[in-house]
Point group: C2
Chain length 145, copies 2
């Protein structure tokens, strides 16, 4: 059952790599409607949050919180949406989404609300740069796995 | 800004009280389509997960995991959905939902998929009893806030 980790090809197809953190691959969903991060723990075969051992579960919470804080700092959203669903792509992943009262799905959840609307290369690179600048490196030096 | 905690009346209207844990009120959504718990930290004015201090954030994760494990133990779902959205009801709350491949919304998220379908009193009491029996009291004696 144990296999090596590889990012699910459906997640890879819809996202761009943004950062590699101690536990997670951090991907930016390529959807101009919402600033939308997906954190994927590099643990093969995990599906639910409670499949992680305690150290990984704790680390995932910290990385989700760091992602949330970066979105808040850079974009000042009206609300953060944080969710682990995985009904379609079974590989454990956590959505961290900056929501605004004037976004295309508000107040509904983003999933299924609209087709994905890819960003221009320039817009994507600009957003990725701002987010990467807001990611605090020290967090991971203090809490290595 | 600081006020005393009270369960949001919209959450109270759609749910039944199931347990009082060290941090959270645990409510059962009255929707026969899905076994659906809502955990509400008793902290006034919290909206996002990252609004909690570190101790409360850690405790919330533990209580979410205990709720997830109880749903898995009692119902053996195909997937757990765990989400903090709060675009409509701003009071911080976490959904913990047991999903099945044959449920009414699968594989879509449950929010907005169908109108709420209340359980019969007998069905609700039966489910509440099974869940309450699966909640491990010791967890909270070991980790009091």
């Amino acid at each position: 059952m144990s296999t090596s980790f590889a990012l699910d090809p459906r997640l890879a197809a819809d996202t761009h790599p943004l950062a590699r953190w101690p536990l997670c691959e951090v991907q930016l969903m390529d959807d101009a409607r919402y600033p939308w991060l997906i954190l994927v723990p590099r643990i093969a075969d995990a599906r639910d949050l409670i499949d992680l051992d305690e150290a990984a579960r704790q680390q995932l919470q910290q990385e989700v919180d760091v992602a949330s804080m970066a979105l808040r700092k850079v974009l000042a959203p009206d609300k953060l949406n944080v969710a682990s669903l995985g009904n379609v792509v079974e590989q454990l992943h956590v959505h961290v989404i900056a929501r605004f009262r004037n976004d295309d799905a508000w107040p509904a959840p983003v999933w299924g609300a609209h087709p994905r609307l890819p960003r221009s290369d320039a817009a994507r690179e600009e957003l990725m740069g701002r987010l990467q600048s807001a990611f605090p490196r020290f967090t991971f030096q203090e809490h290595p796995l």
